[in-house]
Amino acid sequence: MQEKVNSIKEKLLKKLETVDNLSSLNDLRVEFLGKKGSITELSNLMKEIPVEEKKAFGSLLNTIKNEATELLNQKKEEIEASLLDAKLANETIDVTLPGTKLSVGGTHPLTKVIDEIEEIFVSMGYDVVEGPEIESDLYNFEKLNLPKGHPARDAQDSFYITEEVLLRSQTSPVQARTMDANLEKSPIRVICPGKVYRRDDDDATHSHQFTQIEGLVVDKDISLADLKGTLEILAKKLFGEEREIRFRPSFFPFTEPSIEVDVSCFKCGGVGCPICKETGWIEILGSGMVHPNVLRGCGYDPEKYTGFAFGIGPERVAMLKYGIQDIRSFYTNDLRFLSDFNRVEGGE
């Protein structure tokens, strides 16, 4: 009997080797374990087995049944696994083909610079204030210590609308407006971004329309040291923590003393390169202590109050920062140009 069982098992094992799909595996199951299967048929022999051997035969029968079922299941899993592998292999894609182009947009580089500067100052407690672009002579010039007849007021340098009204040539009138509007004549800390206009023909370095950011602090005991400390922060945030600034005396009608500010070259670190014209320094903005005539004209007593003011050109900052050669690029809006700025930039 034992031999019979062994031969069935061997037969099964042999047949299993050649099976490679689920339907022939099923045929095999029927052949061995089906109603008329060779293992099922073995149990028909039970009747003929003497009583004292029945127990042993039963156990032998169970073992072969279990073994056969196990072997068939094992094979089934194997076949299923290889089928899945084949299916997945069929689903291979070219992972290197381009991804779907999602619509992207981005911030104009000038806005990026203005936002950045605004954030620096708002974080130091400055208010952002705005003023009109169509401005009166009074605020654009008169209140800024540029009386009638002053050369800087020449009609050919500004876009006049009427004799008394013009497109503002600077954001400084917002200074005067802010001081004028402050009826308590209390301390002021503001930053004023905006568009300005000058009667220049457009070329690589001139634009009849550009942007400016004006800063103004008026309080008791404000000094040049406060201006320097404030602009040091600006320079470091804009151009890197290692930057230093230096003051050069200059002249602007609305400040006295007037200061031109250079920042140490962020390209070469100060040793000299073409960007800084081998000087190690780059001129970035004009500034100074608010002229007493300006304070007085806006109702502040220059004996009690002092202040500093500065004006920075986002175009210039962006050109320096990003290496832009032509100021007109900001206004032609080539999408390839704009998309170059459409990403985050390494922190400070």
Partner: protein, 794 residues
């Protein structure tokens, strides 16, 4: 203004100072320079004498010369037509370098050895405007007394160094050599010496023979002197060199002297031919349309704002700007009338702008020290005596209404340190005042400072503080932050919202652009329905920048064209910016505009591109409006009234029933492309109040979904159906969507079918089938009855 080392050395000793260092120090005193260079960059030049000059046998223009250089005689081949035996010449020896970089080497010219070069002035780097006719065509001929073997640059006074300063507008005092000397003196703490002119007056007092009438307030000083019997010839070399160093062309000794004194003292002078001027001098304003022929030969029509010098008959000079032809100093002039005057800067500026900006007018425009006028006129007499053999006549015509008082400014050390943020001591301040040439006395805490009139720019305390600060050096300022009460920095509310809008639109795939506010007149009329009074500039730079725009759309179309021309076809852009017009006042209204064209997003190789169309733009705007808290408050209404827009693919945007803008397709007349634009008034949009988000608990009860479709005329708007559905559905209808729009064979020719997906939900209990069915049926009958259309059945 150029500084000449030789010239300034007349007033201050700077022989030991490196000029590069001086230039840098000047920068940190507030005087930027453009360039520093030697007057002549040539080396190794000597004076030679041509001992022998024969024609070159192999050439029709070369000469073979034997030239005595003092310590040697060399053979030089020279091509100049004027080279000849006995001539004293400038020779660049072998090894010399010339300004254009040429190094002189031993050479063979047409087979003949040449050891050096005989030079023309142009070869020494002299600009052609300084060259006389004969110097343009040949080598320079030195006077016969020139010493052979001497350094030619020293002989010509060309061994000079120039620094070209770009002065700030306030430093009128530096537009002359004496002023420069004071500045250098202050920086280096060195004394300045200005000699008093020595004049030998003779003859009769001119006061007796001349009459002077100053008939305008625009002349504060008018001085006149007369120098007789001048001999007009070439100036001495030092005068010529100094004029050229300062950028002025030498003419003759008399003309040069007037320029020389102006360069020294900053006081412009005018020399008249005394015989032709006459004895009656009038300073007055010109008559409107009065004419004057200026010395450049042009007849000028004058304006009433021009100041003129006149004689009995007519105007003879445009004061401070240009002399007249009729009284010009010429070769045969014998007697000279010298004018030293101060005119009103503003009038001079207006006149010079219309006619000519000259060395004189640029000084008048910035202001003249009233205490130098007399010095300057005497100096001119002195030089005319010395270099033009003139005889100065006794007496001086004098009109003088100028305030010549030195300025007094009181200041304390405390104030100085308070403004500069430095810690100066009394000794520092006193030393700087002394170096600047300001006198002072200290009375308890206050300095009473006396500022000389030459410093026209120093008038108030703050000016004085700047002087002290810049001479002490701003590098001594160490930065700190203002000590002020803490407060929060803020953005204007509108500006904050604009930032939000920008971020949203960028997230939705649009690039921000910035364009010009000034546009052309024809552009200004595009896309504007009601043209408001435009804001025009008085003197536009060009045709395309004449008017302030009243819509941003034409500018966006320009950006589109610019990009299309560069083969960029998918364009999605927006701009926030003002439009401008006139009502009672000038109005600036902030707008939000956008332009979309081409593929919005997708993947070409998968054939999955989302093209820009009306509904895409609508989706973007709805997304934005929802983000801005306008959900349920806006309506999109068909609008045919927008010119330059497709009449059937354009809609107005209404928020709270107020029209705030529009969007749609650009009219094919304006653009043949499928380009969509939108424009909204940010002023109107951002004026709407937006409530805070208020969270409503999500219903725990199940929702019921139902679909239905209606067949309606093609011309009917979906919104009509929707609004009835919403009204009937009430608060139980929580969502409604269009999921199908069908036109075709299953509906009539002029019909369409729109299918709606409805969601019902009760926040407080489970909806029963009955409830939903009742509402649903009511919806159908309401729509059918009110709109006279039919439910679509399968």
């Amino acid at each position: 203004m150029r500084l000449s080392k030789k010239f300034i050395s007349d007033y201050i000793d700077i022989q030991d100072i490196d000029m590069q260092e001086l230039a840098e120090k000047m920068v940190f005193a507030g005087n930027e320079y453009e360039e520093m260079r030697p007057f002549c960059e040539a080396t190794n030049l000597v004076i030679g004498e041509v001992l022998e000059c024969v024609d070159h046998p192999e050439s029709d223009h070369l000469h073979i010369c034997q030239v005595d250089l003092g310590d040697e005689t060399v053979q030089i081949v020279c091509g100049a037509p004027n080279v000849r035996k006995g001539l004293k010449v400038i020779v660049s020896k072998v090894g010399a370098t010339l300004p254009d970089g040429i190094v002189i080497k031993k050479a063979k010219l047409a087979g003949v050895e040449s050891n050096g070069m005989i030079c023309a002035l142009s070869e020494l780097g002299l600009e052609s405007k300084y060259l006389k006719e004969e110097d343009k065509t040949g080598i320079h001929e030195l006077p016969s007394d020139a010493k052979v073997g001497m350094d030619a640059l020293a002989y010509l006074e060309f061994d000079d160094t120039i620094i070209d300063f770009e002065l700030t507008a306030d430093r009128a005092d530096l537009m002359n050599m004496i002023g420069m000397a004071y500045e250098v003196g202050a920086i280096y703490d060195r004394p300045v010496k200005v000699k008093e002119p020595v004049v030998h007056e003779q003859g009769n007092d001119i006061i007796a023979s001349y009459q002077l009438d100053v008939k305008t307030d625009n002349c504060s000083i008018y001085l006149g002197k007369r120098v007789d019997n001048v001999c007009i010839k070439e100036s001495p070399q030092f005068i010529k060199e100094r004029l050229m160093a300062c950028g002025i062309r030498p003419i003759n000794n008399v003309v040069d002297i007037s320029n020389y004194v102006m360069l020294e003292y900053g006081q412009p002078l005018h020399f008249f031919d005394a015989d032709r001027l006459g004895n009656h001098i009038v300073v007055r304003m010109a008559e409107e349309k009065e004419t004057l022929t200026t010395l450049d030969g042009q007849m000028r029509e004058l304006k009433a704002s021009d100041i003129v010098i006149a004689n009995e008959k007519e105007a003879v000079a445009l004061a401070g700007v240009m002399g007249g032809l009729s009284t010009e100093v010429e070769e045969d002039t014998k007697h000279i009338f010298i004018e030293a005057a101060i005119f009103d800067p503003v009038h001079i500026r207006y006149t010079s702008k219309a006619i000519l900006r000259s060395e004189a007018s640029s000084r008048y425009e910035k202001g003249i020290d009233p205490n130098r006028t007399k010095q300057a006129i005497l100096r001119a007499c002195e030089l005319l005596e010395q270099y033009a053999s003139g005889t100065t006549q006794i007496g001086m015509l004098c009109y003088d209404q100028a305030d010549k008082e030195n300025k007094k400014i009181d200041i304390t050390l405390e104030k100085i340190n308070q403004v500069l943020g430095m810690e100066l001591k009394n000794t520092d301040v006193e030393s700087i005042l002394r170096r600047l040439g300001f006198t002072y006395n200290l009375d308890r805490e206050a300095y009473h400072v006396i500022v000389p009139t030459r410093r026209l720019d120093v008038n108030i305390k703050e000016d004085l503080i700047e002087e002290i600060g810049r001479i002490y050096g701003y590098d001594h300022v160490s930065g700190k932050l203002p000590v002020v009460p803490m407060k929060q920095g803020t953005y204007p509310k509108k500006e904050k919202m604009v930032k939000e809008i920008r971020k949203r639109l960028e997230g939705l795939g649009l690039y921000q652009v910035i364009t010009y506010s000034l546009i052309g007149e024809s552009e200004c009329k595009q896309f504007v329905n009601e043209v408001k009074t435009p804001v025009k500039v008085l003197a536009p730079l060009s045709e395309d920048k004449k008017v302030m725009r009243q819509t941003l759309i034409p500018s966006l179309l320009n950006v589109m064209e610019y990009n299309l021309a560069r083969n960029i076809k998918d364009i999605q852009i927006f701009e926030t910016g003002s439009i401008y017009y006139q009502e009672d006042t000038f109005i600036e209204e902030q707008m939000l505009s956008g332009l979309l064209l081409g593929n919005y997003q997708g993947n070409t190789w998968q054939n999955q591109n989302l093209k820009v169309d009306y509904y895409l733009v609508k989706g973007i705007l709805e997304n934005l409006l929802d983000y801005l808290g306008m959900n349920g408050r806006y309506q999109i209404v068909a609008d045919e009234t927008y010119q330059d827009m497709h009449p059937k693919m354009t809609a107005s945007i209404l928020v709270d029933h107020e029209k705030i803008g529009y969007f749609g397709k650009v009219h094919p007349r304006t653009s043949k492309r499928d380009v969509y634009v939108f424009e909204m008034s940010l002023e109107k949009l951002l004026a709407k109040k937006v409530r805070q988000v208020k969270y409503k608990e999500i219903s725990k009860y199940p929702s019921v979904h139902k679909d239905l479709a209606f067949i309606m005329p093609k011309t009917m708007e979906s919104e009509q159906v929707m609004s009835i559905l919403k009204k009937v559905g009430g608060r139980l209808l929580t969502n409604i969507d269009v999921f199908d729009v069908y036109e075709g064979e299953n509906v009539g020719e002029n019909e369409k079918s729109i299918a709606y997906a409805l969601t019902f939900q009760n926040p407080s209990k489970t909806l029963s089938d009955e409830e939903v069915t009742t509402i649903f049926n009511q919806m159908i009958s309401e729509v059918e009855n009110k709109l006279n259309i039919k439910l679509r059945t399968k």
